[in-house]
């Protein structure tokens, strides 16, 4: 009686994506293991003006949030459009991947992905100018993310 019919009941929203943190301290195997056990999500495509309160409210819909760490510009120390959400249980984080990922926060479609776990220093953007890398090179104008990408703004 134990057949699960894996062919049918897939749960693809919970799968780990292709992204791997290149700054991760440890080998690929360790990183995979942590990702599969993690209760922490990376959240991207936030507006710079999205507050911790808003993130709390939205992500609480899939379970009790343990903590939120808002991503900061390394230079300006202001929000730069991403954050980490840590849950008390993996199950709650999985529900966020299924039901919060790809929906809107502050009118923007946000994206969530598994994170190996917050470590001091990871709250800073890694772009040359201090924000996220994606804001260094993008060509479009996004008023909620500082306007044009840095490569456009810099002549």
């Amino acid at each position: 009686m134990s057949i699960k019919l894996n062919a049918l009941f897939s749960d693809s929203y919970v799968d780990v994506s292709q992204y791997r943190d290149q700054h991760f301290k440890g080998n690929r195997y360790e990183q995979e293991k942590l990702l599969k056990q993690s209760n922490t999500l990376y959240v991207g495509n936030l507006s710079f003006y999205t507050t911790e309160e808003q993130v709390y409210e939205l992500f609480s819909k899939s379970g009790d949030v343990k903590r939120i760490i808002i991503g900061l510009d390394k230079v300006k120390k202001t929000a730069c459009g991403f954050c980490f959400v840590e849950y008390y249980t993996r199950a709650d984080a999985e529900n966020a991947m299924r039901f919060v990922n790809g929906t809107r926060l502050d009118d923007r479609i946000i994206r969530t992905d598994w994170d190996a776990g917050f470590k001091e220093g990871r709250q800073y953007g890694r772009g040359k100018s201090g924000g996220q890398v994606r804001d260094e090179y993008r060509q479009d104008y996004d008023p909620a993310r500082g306007g044009y990408g840095k490569v456009v703004a810099r002549p």
Binding site: M1, I3, L8, E53, K61, R98, T103
Partner: protein
Amino acid sequence: MSRRRHSDGDDGGQSHKRRRTSEPIEIEDRLESLICRVGEKSTSSLESNLEGLAGVLEADLPNYKNKILRILCAVARLLPEKLTVYTTLVGLLNARNYNFGGEFVEAMIRQLKETLKANLYTEALYLVRFLSDLVNCHVIAAPSMVAMFENFVSVTQEEDVPQVRSDWFVYVVLSSLPWVGKELYEKKDVEMDRLLNQIDGYLKRRLKTHVPMLQVWTAEKPHPQEEYLDCLWSQIQKMKKDRWQERHILRPYVAFDSVLCEALQHNLPPFTPPAHMPDCQYPMPRVVFRMFDYTDAPEGPVMPGSHSVERFVIEENLHNIVKSHWRERKTCAAQLLSYPGKNKIPLNYHIVEVIFGELFQLPCPPHIDVMYTTLLIELCKLQPGSLPQVLAQATEMMYIRLDTMNTTCIDRLLNWFSHHLSNFQFRWSWDDWADCLTMDADKPKPKFVKEVLEKCMRLSYHQRIVDIVPPTFSALIPADPIFFYKYQDEANSALPGYAVAITVGNAIKNRASNEEILTVLKDVPNPNQEDDDDEGEGFNPLKIEVFLQTLLHLAAKSFSHSFSALAKFHEILKALTDCDEGKLHILRVVYEVWRNHPQMISVLVDKLIRTQIVDCAAVANWLFSPNMAHEFTRFYVWEILHSTIRKMNKHVQKIQKELEEAKEKLEKQQHKKQKDSGDEEDMEKNSEDEEGLLEEQIDRLQEKVESAQSEQKNLFLVIFQRFIMMLTEHLVRCETGSVDFNTPWYKNCIERLQQIFLMHHVTIQQYMGTLENLLFTAELDHHILAVYQQFCALQL
């Protein structure tokens, strides 16, 4: 030069291995895939796909019979929405291979016994329904199916069993009749009539105390919220009147009739329902959720009536699709929208009704609330020209009927609506709801709009809300979530403690140590004491006020700032709140300063509990205290209370789990010892030490569990006592004043009491004895006692 590196993901190295040793597994996977996918969108017709698949499986029977049997049993159990596709397949296989048909039936009966033993009643139901449809496919002889049904219905004659047990057996029989009623009646009408008469008698005498607690709306109009067995009975009776005509179910086996009627049938072995055992957990009774009828779908196909068997089948299938695919919203939405037979029904209306039916289901929705929000958004994406309108129509209808909607359901509705709006730029025709502006603020409609706007604000910000509603709605806009600092400016310098507040504030800003701050606080006089002979031990409300107001003021910038502050000064806070009054006062101060920011109050209370500065009972007492009476009907109060109860429950579960794990470890240790006995002295001594340590740990954990359970029981007692006091007071006051007791406040309060029972029924079950002896006694006002009795009737 390139070297081939054989890492984990390297297909090159692995595939050789796979090809050589894994062929059978590949074939088994392929079989599983073929069987699971039959019936899905295809360039060929369903009939030709079934024919083809039957041929393939027949050929594979010699080598893979057991695998095929298991897969077919699994789809019977797990894919009820494709019932008739698979019964047809089994029918075709039986026609080609009689022995296989017999083995399949045997396997199904075995599986049925297993699912019943494992309390998997829903799966057992699907198995029986599958068996009954196999009658239509000439696999099972009708008389033997009738015999099984007769055995099921005879459960209604059992004495001293829970009503939910006989309910289930009756439900299984009735809910199979849409599929097989016609055939069984044609073959065995006398027996079937007798069966239905027995069922009729049972339904007439069974108790329905549980119904009011499970109804989403208390009003009978426009759509009565019927008890599920009553509704199904009406549907079956109507079907009987229509001479068992049923036009909705897709029946692929009809096309194969010439082949199937040549097949030999099998008899079901006599099946005795397993006896009732104390640990059997039968499904809970339900109320059928209806919000639409044929008048609501303006054009296009007509919606089948509430007592039509078609309605039952459609709802069953849609619920089953959600059950199968809830984890993947895109797939779920696509499957719902490609429902077979969708052109003959107003599918969007059925889908919306089924989804809201689940969202509002009492006691709890089958799946997490947020799933339904995201599913509806996905459906809107796939049907942008039609579904949003149906959703808007549904929302409007539910707004109009708020007066009689259960408070718990209103909670879920406003959570859904605000979250939904936040995905669509908060666009809504608020003016359509202008009627709520002229009503008393405590009436359901203005209250609903107010709470929706508050929730919308949490997902955005204050100014946004001001911008999205017409100016006429300004009275319902939530307050600006600002901090209220008592010692804000020099105008307040006359307040006691003002000077210390300034000093403490500076001390904190200058990173003074906890000792230094405590020293500063010593200067705060204690308004509770006449003289100063006490060294400031014991409850000093002013000290708490001065310190906490100042601290929270400095940390008001964000949640993170406030959490850091609580963590940094944990020691001081613990010292100040050593007693119950201290704990209560801390909560009062948090409310005072953040009364315009309920979300902040919520998260701070959560942190205070988790860091053990206050306990759960303190929070309950605070919420029920006279100071909070004016907030009693606000949504956030109940969010906090239920969150508090959940934390308590999780805490108990966590320690229980630790205890279980320690016990298991000890058992393993003892087994190992038995096996290793006779080994050297050293090892024996070590294992004895380990055992001793484990036993100590178990004792400690046992104590912890008992203490936690005691705290949990106390929490519920506090809550129920408070409810009883408040409600009794209200009822007595109304009676003596000859006033109608059924005010909006009363409705809210009594339904909140119900909500405690419903949301935490699993935990409360453990304490029923105490509750009945201490609180819910016969002396209680019957209005209050009724809630308790309805809860008991759920036999949860």
